[in-house]
């Protein structure tokens, strides 16, 4: 059982000119077994929502609550949130020079599980996870994300998702910049994760094409820092045909 509950969330981004409000009251509940797609134009605040859930220091929550199974997520530090079962696949994964993927993964797995993984199976698990995302085993000895192509970075995020096995995954435009083969590979990874059961997925995307491979239970249209409309998978088809104009023009 796991439920991520976001209620009336208000968030500002810290800028040089002071705080700038981005999220204006987001309410969303993701129960386990559910995949929610958030779709919205560039700049509507999708990444702000993702980062706020993960606890990025650039963002300040000015109102509302986020809970995971009733626990106050906003009171947790960044790493506590991850250990509580949240995972964020980033739109722009960060390069960490000099830290090998294998060291990084082992450190993260140890932190999440509270004990180091069994040596005998771990190496195999890592190789399998990389292979499943079409990353060859040499990636394990490379520095985290350094010199990875855009697509390799995204695939590395999903390999981490499968290895770390959180309760709820927030995927921020994991589909952007992927060619069709990579998109399929990444989608299969997300579907494998979701099919384990008791998992929540918040799939943030700009485009509808990923929804051909990952079937959402709910679609939310995200505009100007709040959810403008929600519905089932059919809402995505409508967006595909009509775009965001209807929602953005309403604001003008």
């Amino acid at each position: 059982m796991s439920t991520l509950e976001i209620t009336d969330l208000h968030v500002s981004v810290n800028t040089e000119d002071g705080p700038k409000p981005i999220l204006n009251g987001v309410t969303l509940t993701i129960k386990d077994g559910e995949t929610h797609a958030i779709m919205g134009p560039n700049g509507s605040g999708k990444s702000t929502l993702a980062y706020s859930i993960a606890g990025h220091p650039k963002y300040t929550v000015t109102g509302g609550t986020v809970t995971l199974d009733g626990e106050d997520v906003l009171a947790m530090s960044v790493d506590e949130r991850a250990r509580a079962g949240l995972f964020l696949a980033m739109q722009y994964p960060v390069e960490v020079p000099g830290v090998s993927v294998s060291n990084f993964l082992r450190t993260a797995k140890t932190a999440i599980d509270g004990e180091s993984p069994k040596l005998r199976t771990w190496v195999k698990d890592v190789n399998n996870a990389l292979q499943a995302l079409d990353l060859d085993p040499t990636f394990a000895s490379r520095s985290v994300n350094e010199g990875f192509s855009g697509g390799e970075k995204k695939r590395h995020e999903i390999a981490q998702l499968e290895l770390l096995d959180p309760k709820v995954a927030v995927l921020d435009e994991t589909d952007s910049g992927l060619d069709i083969d990579a998109l399929k590979i990444v989608s299969e990874g997300v579907n494998r994760f979701a099919s384990k059961g008791n998992k929540g997925v918040l799939l943030i995307t700009h485009y509808t094409r990923v929804l051909r491979y990952i079937k959402p239970d709910f679609v939310h249209v995200f505009v100007a820092g709040r959810i403008a409309e929600q519905g089932g998978a059919e809402l995505a088809d409508q967006l595909e045909a009509e775009g965001y104009d209807k929602y953005t023009s309403a604001l003008r």
Binding site: A54, P57, S77, V78, A82, M90
Partner: protein
């Protein structure tokens, strides 16, 4: 002899291989009169806290010595020679007061002879230990490395002293030499050192300077070439704590065609008054066509109250170069990197540790002395324990301006 600018210029135009015109690199001379006591306003001394050198530059005679403990592979001979003999061997003459004093006051030099074609599997290790900062110790060393020899030399400095030394590495044709100088002094030590390397034809030299301990450490690594085809890689790693002054001055003198130099120094600073200085001078002389050079210095500032000075300086006298570039950057620990690691459940402290090890890792690997890698990693760990692992706040989350030049 006092060298005026005029004299310098006429020498320079008379001889293709003339000493350098750069004000940063004065004419070499054994005569102490050519190296007056610095005031601290000179370009080459302006970063150095002269008062904290505890009178070394006055040049008082002293018989005090560092304790030598050596591991010498078979075939390598260590002996004592006179200063005159060192000069006749073709050592690199002093170009600064500390080196000139070291020659004048040491009363002879240690000669370490590596015969031609010798390739011991084990490194030559010289452990130099000081008894007390009250000891003023002069040091004069000459390493003579024969043609096609292949040797690793490790110099480990520890304990305490006021130590002022000049060391020449005369590298034969086709030789491969890996030198590591580790400054792991006690908190009160003062060390003025100059490692001067002459690279033989087609020889390749790696020199790594590692500075952790000491109150003031000021190290030169100078390279010049005896013939075309030589390569030098100058590496450095330093970690300055509160109140420490760690200064590294590089000089790659491309005085021969088709030579290479590659400089990479990385440092971290933590605590009030931690000060590091990196001066990277590269001179490409008129004759030095087809050379390649790259120099890089990166500093990581871990707390407030630190200062990292970093000055790359490229002087080019010929247009016919294969490649030349430099980069210098000083930054805080990267918040985005820390966030990324922490978003995977890694604790704040562990994330900082990972990023810092990552920062130094590639350099430690490049040192290429497996028996030393563990020790270096461990020393980094010990240094980190002082702040990062102790949970001391690392200051504002601001990224300092990064300057990057590649021409």
């Amino acid at each position: 002899m006092t060298v005026t600018d005029v004299a310098r210029e006429s020498v320079a135009s008379a001889l293709e291989q003339a000493p350098v015109v750069s004000h940063l690199n004065p004419l070499p001379s054994y005569d102490l009169a050519d190296h007056p006591v610095p005031t601290g306003r000179e370009e080459v001394w302006r970063f150095t806290p002269i008062k904290r050198l505890r009178g070394i530059l006055d040049g008082e005679p002293s018989d005090a010595r560092l304790e030598w403990d050596t591991s010498v592979p078979e075939g390598i001979e260590i002996s004592t020679i006179t200063a005159e003999q060192a000069r006749e061997l073709g050592e690199l003459p002093p170009n600064e007061r500390p080196a000139a004093l070291a020659v004048a006051r040491s009363g002879g030099a240690a000669l370490i002879d590596v015969p031609a074609e010798l390739a011991p599997g084990e490194p030559l290790v010289i452990r130099l230990t000081g008894a007390s900062v009250d000891d003023l110790v002069w040091g004069h060393l000459v390493f003579r490395i024969g043609n096609h020899a292949d040797v690793t030399i490790v110099l480990l400095h520890s304990g305490s002293a006021r130590y002022c030394a000049t060391t020449s590495f005369l590298v034969g044709d086709g030789a491969r030499v890996n030198v590591v100088s580790l400054q792991d002094w006690a908190d009160d030590a003062v060390h003025l050192g100059r490692d001067a390397i002459r690279v033989g034809r087609d020889a390749s030299v790696k020199h790594t300077s590692v500075s952790f301990g000491g109150d003031v450490v000021r190290m030169h690594a100078n390279v010049e070439y005896a013939a075309p085809g030589g390569e030098a890689e100058l590496l450095g790693l330093y970690f300055a704590d509160a109140g420490q002054h760690l200064e590294h001055r590089l000089f790659a003198d491309h005085n021969q065609p088709r030579t290479k130099s590659n400089v990479a120094y990385k440092g971290a600073l933590q605590g009030q008054g931690a000060h590091t200085v990196w001066i990277g001078n590269v001179l490409i002389r008129k004759v030095a066509e087809g050379i390649e050079t790259y120099e890089e210095n990166r500093n990581l500032v871990l707390t407030d109250g630190c200062q990292a000075d970093s000055v790359p300086n490229l002087e080019i006298e010929t247009g016919e170069i294969a490649g030349a570039g430099h980069a210098s950057a000083t930054a805080r620990l990267d918040d985005e990197q820390l966030f990324y690691l922490r978003s995977r459940g890694v604790s704040d402290v562990e994330a900082r540790r990972l990023v810092l090890h990552g920062f130094f890792n590639d350099l430690i690997r490049k040192v290429g002395v497996p028996s030393l890698e563990g020790r270096l990693t461990q020393t980094v760990e010990v240094e980190l324990a002082k702040t990062v692992l102790a949970g001391v706040p690392l200051g504002a989350s601001l990224i300092l301006p990064v300057e990057e030049v590649a021409d």
